[in-house]
Symmetry: C2
Subunit: 166 residues, 2 copies
């Protein structure tokens, strides 16, 4: 692999991680503008609450550690209330302050891991794809996970922004 290739890879990685970071920042901006009570409201009548969606995004980010194979996840206890069960299903919910703290911890730890990664590591396969499939579909790499997760964050942020006053 020559220098041109490394430069191109570094540029791609920056493009994707910047996009992911932008979505995290937008979630933080929203949290700075609404109260915890507002966050707990439904984003539209009968739809998920903002808190459920926020916890869901925190859980999905936390699962990146294992999905990317870069470490142990920090808060697997987020899965039961925010991933394995739908909103308002009677699960024991953590309190908002704790989830905000976890969200910040998870994203800070992910950013540390990302900084330590070599460019070529982003183009290796992620944990949910078999080696033989990856040989045929090399786009199923770790960086691609970050693209799909970034779009996923944007998707729910569009809904969470309905919590803001008109």
């Amino acid at each position: 692999m020559n220098n041109d290739t490394v430069t191109t890879e570094v540029l791609f990685i920056k493009m994707v991680l910047d996009a992911w970071q932008t979505q995290n920042t937008r979630v933080n901006d929203l949290l700075g503008k609404i109260s915890d009570e507002q966050l707990k409201q439904e984003t539209a009548p009968g739809r998920n609450t903002g808190f459920y969606l926020f916890g869901h995004l925190a859980a999905v980010n936390d699962r990146l550690f294992t999905l990317l194979g870069i470490g142990e996840r920090l808060h697997p206890e987020l899965d039961s209330p925010f991933l394995d069960h739908p909103d308002k299903s009677g699960q024991q919910m953590p309190n908002v302050d704790d989830v905000k703290k976890y969200w910040n911890e998870i994203n800070a730890a992910l950013n540390e891991k990302f900084k330590a990664m070599q460019p070529n590591e982003w183009f290796e396969k992620h944990a949910s794809v078999a080696a033989e499939d990856f040989a045929k579909e090399p786009q199923r790499n770790r960086l691609n996970v970050m693209i799909t997760r970034t779009v996923h964050q944007g998707y729910h942020l569009g809904q969470m922004n309905y919590l803001k006053s008109k």
Copy 2:
């Protein structure tokens, strides 16, 4: 630029364009599931209608021709009702069938243009960035536009999906 670099570029372009195409497909899936009357409903009380968001996505995709510098846009008349003015502001609105037809035309024509592009063209600057800024920030290339537009589509799709029955 050697073969390794080209291979990496081709792979990355595929990752990004696949993600963009997935969002277009999801919009189409939604349109296949709801009536025009449902599409015209507000996505949440007092929020944008599904039709406004759909026309907005069509207009934004149409603007890719000029933003990427790959041709003339097809339906600039979408801007006034769906970009320059907010929803429910008394603008003359096209009918739903026409916007669906435009959406398909725009996306088909974009895909044709994309197929004809050489990998390195995706890493050139887009029309909204000055040459001197691009020299310092090479991530502001055409492919990066596709990343941000893909997230933007996901954002509004999250809202449009509230049109579906619970």
